[in-house]
Amino acid sequence: MGKLKLLQGNEACAEGALYAGCTFFAGYPITPSTEVAEFMARSLPKIGGAFLQMEDEIAAMAAIIGGSLAGAKSLTATSGPGFSLKQENIGFAALTEVPCVVVNVMRGGPSTGVPTGPGQSDIMQCKWGTHGDHPVICLTPAYVQEIFSETVRAFNLAEKYRTPVIIAFDEIVGHMREKIEIPDKGVLPVEDRPKPACKPSEYLPYDDSKGDVPPMANFFEGYRYHVTGLNHGPDGFPVNASPRIHTDELRLMRKVEANRKEIIRYEDYMTDDAEVVVFAYGVSGRSGKTAVEAARADGIKAGLFRPLTIWPFPEEEVASIASRVKGIVVPELSLGQIIFEVDRCAKGRCRVEGIYRVDGDPITPSQILAKIKEVK
C-alpha cells in the first residue's frame, strides 16, 4: 500500500513528476496552473533539484530544455497565454529530441479569456501549436489519481522517445481535490533516456542507422556534440536542402506513429454493445460517464470512449466504434475542435454530434444524456 493523500490535480501532477524522477522545474506563474510551480518550489530544493521561476514562459521552456540536456528530467507547467509563448521552443525540443514534459492546464481562451474557468480549446494547439511538421504526444487525464499516473507516464514516454510530451487537463480537474494513492517506489515503471554505449569519438547524436530513437548523451559527460534547431545530419551539424531532411523528419514522426500501440491509452466503458458512444476527455469525460450510466438506467445502450492519449489520435479505435454504432456524441469545452478528428476517423459510418460550451461551466451529464437520446 502506498501513501493516501487528498490532493488537487495540479499537486498530483507535481507528485507524479517527482515520482518519475523529475529534478528540474522552470516556470512562470499563470492561473490555473500555478500550484504545480508552487509545489515544485517547495519540493525540489529539499531533494537537491533545481527550481527556477523564469522571466516568462519562453524562458521557462528554454530552461527546461537546457536542464534536460544536462541530464535532469525536466518539467514546466502553464496555461493558455503561456502555452502560446512556449510554442517555438517546444518545436526546438521536438527537432533536437530533448526529452521534457509540458503541462497545460487549460482555461478558456483565446487571449486572456477566462483565466479561472475550464477550457478544452487548446487541444488542436497541443498538436499543431509550433510551426513545422513534428511528432506530438499529448495525454489527457480526467481524475486526480490519473493525473498522477499519467504524469509518470509522460516522463517515461518523453525519455523513451526523446520528445516533448504535453499533459493537457482542464482547470476543473486541475483544481479538484480527490483522494489518491501514491504508490511505493518501484510500483509504477520509471524509464530513463537511452544512453550511448559507444566511445565518445564514435558517437553520432542523430544516427538513425540502428533505430528511430538514437541514444542520448548528456552534456558534460564526455560526449561533446552539437545541438541545433536547424535540420541536421547524423553528426548533429546543419544540413541544407538535402534528402536527409526528408528522411529525418519522417523518422521523427515514426518515433510516435510506429509506437501508437504503446502510447495510446483510453478508458473503454460499455462500448461493446453500445448504439451511441460518447467520445470525451478530461472533465467532459467525467460528465460523459455519468450520462452513460443514466442512459443505461433508462435502457439505452450507451458507452463511453475516454482517451487518455489524445495525440497521437486513437484513429483505429474510433474507426472501429464508428462502424458499430448509430452515433458518436462529442462534448467538449470549445466551439468544436476534437470533433474534427472524430469525424475524420468515422468517415461517415455513423452520425457524429458535438456539444460545445465555452461559458466557463462544464458540460453537464444531462446535456449529454439529451444528446444521446436524440442520436439513438
Binding site: I65, G67, A72, G229
Partner: protein, 276 residues
C-alpha cells in the same frame, strides 16, 4: 610557437559561413586562445548561442555546443548551469539576439547574477537577415528597414548590463585582439554573470551602406574611436565625444545565483533550519 587552433576546431567544419572581411573570425580565434590559456577541459565547457551570424560560432568549436532559438540562448544556458553548476557555461550572442528579442532574458540573467559568461558580438546591425537596424545601430545610419537613416535611440550594452545587475562588465573590439584575449579570460574567470561587449564589423550589410569603403576602414574606425577606460575617464566630456571606453568597465562582488540556490539546498538538509 604559433597557436594550434586545430585542437579546438571541429574537424571538417570549416570553412565557416562568415563573409570575407567579417570580424567574427578574429574574435573566434581570440576566444579559443583565451579558453586555452585557462586550461579548462573541453568536456566541462558548454557554449550556447541564439540565432544570427555570431550565433553560428559554437558549431565550429569542440565543446558541448548548443545553437538555440533567436534571443533565447541565456535561458537555455541558465538551465544547463542550474542543472550542472560545476561546469563552465558561456554564451555567444549578437546585438539583436541579446538586446532586442532576447532583451528580457538578458536583463534577468544579469539580475540573477548566475555564473555565465556572455559575449555579445555587437556589429550594430542584423547581419544574418541582411542589414535591418538593431537596438545598437547608431543614429542616422542606413539600414534596410531605416532607409532614410536610423531614428531609433540605441542601447549602450555595458550600461544596460550594469544597470540590470551584472557583476562584471567589459568592452573590447575585434581590432584590439590581444587585449580582447585578456578581457575574455577575465570575463570567464569572474564568478557571476559577466557581459563582454565585443565591437565587431559587418562590412556586408552595415559598412557598405554607411560610407565604410572597405572592411579595413571599419577596423581603423575601431582603432580610432576606442579608448582604454583608464584614459577615457580622465578626459573631459568634449574630448570623449564620439569615442567609447574599452577594458573592464565595472565589477563588483555579489552572491552568485547557483551558490545561493544550492546553499539553500544544503540548509534544508539540516532539519533544524529547514522550515519549508
Amino acid at each position: 610557437m604559433s597557436f594550434d587552433y586545430d585542437q579546438y576546431i571541429r574537424g571538417g567544419k570549416l570553412p565557416h559561413i562568415w563573409c570575407p572581411g567579417c570580424t567574427y573570425g578574429i574574435v573566434f580565434k581570440s576566444l579559443l586562445r583565451a579558453v586555452d590559456s585557462l586550461k579548462i577541459p573541453k568536456d566541462d565547457v558548454a557554449l550556447v548561442s541564439g540565432i544570427g551570424c555570431a550565433s553560428r560560432l559554437p558549431g565550429y568549436v569542440d565543446f558541448n555546443t548548443l545553437h538555440t532559438t533567436h534571443g533565447r540562448a541565456l535561458p537555455f544556458a541558465t538551465g544547463l548551469k542550474m542543472a550542472r553548476p560545476d561546469k563552465k557555461v558561456m554564451v555567444v550572442s549578437g546585438d539583436g539576439d541579446a538586446t532586442a528579442i532576447g532583451g528580457n532574458h538578458f536583463i534577468h540573467a544579469c539580475r540573477r547574477n548566475i555564473d555565465i559568461t556572455v559575449l555579445v558580438f555587437n556589429n550594430f546591425i542584423y547581419g544574418m537577415t541582411g542589414g535591418q537596424y538593431s537596438p545598437t545601430t547608431p543614429s542616422g545610419h542606413l539600414a534596410t528597414t531605416m532607409p532614410y537613416g536610423n531614428i531609433d535611440p540605441s542601447f549602450n550594452i555595458p550600461d544596460l548590463a550594469k544597470g540590470a545587475g551584472a557583476s562584471w562588465v567589459g568592452r573590447g573590439t575585434a581590432y584590439h585582439a590581444a587585449a580582447l584575449d585578456k578581457l575574455i579570460v577575465e570575463a570567464i574567470q569572474h564568478k557571476g554573470l559577466s557581459v563582454l561587449e565585443i565591437i565587431n564589423a559587418c562590412p556586408t550589410t552595415h559598412g557598405r551602406r554607411n560610407k565604410f569603403k572597405s572592411p579595413t576602414d571599419m577596423l581603423l574606425w575601431m582603432k580610432d574611436t576606442a579608448l582604454p577606460v583608464t584614459a577615457f575617464d580622465k578626459l573631459p566630456p568634449e574630448k570623449t565625444a564620439g569615442k567609447f571606453p574599452t577594458g573592464v568597465l565595472f565589477k563588483r562582488e555579489a552572491p552568485e545565483y547557483c551558490e545561493t540556490y544550492y546553499g539553500l539546498v544544503e540548509r534544508l538538509k539540516s532539519p533544524k533550519e529547514g522550515r519549508a
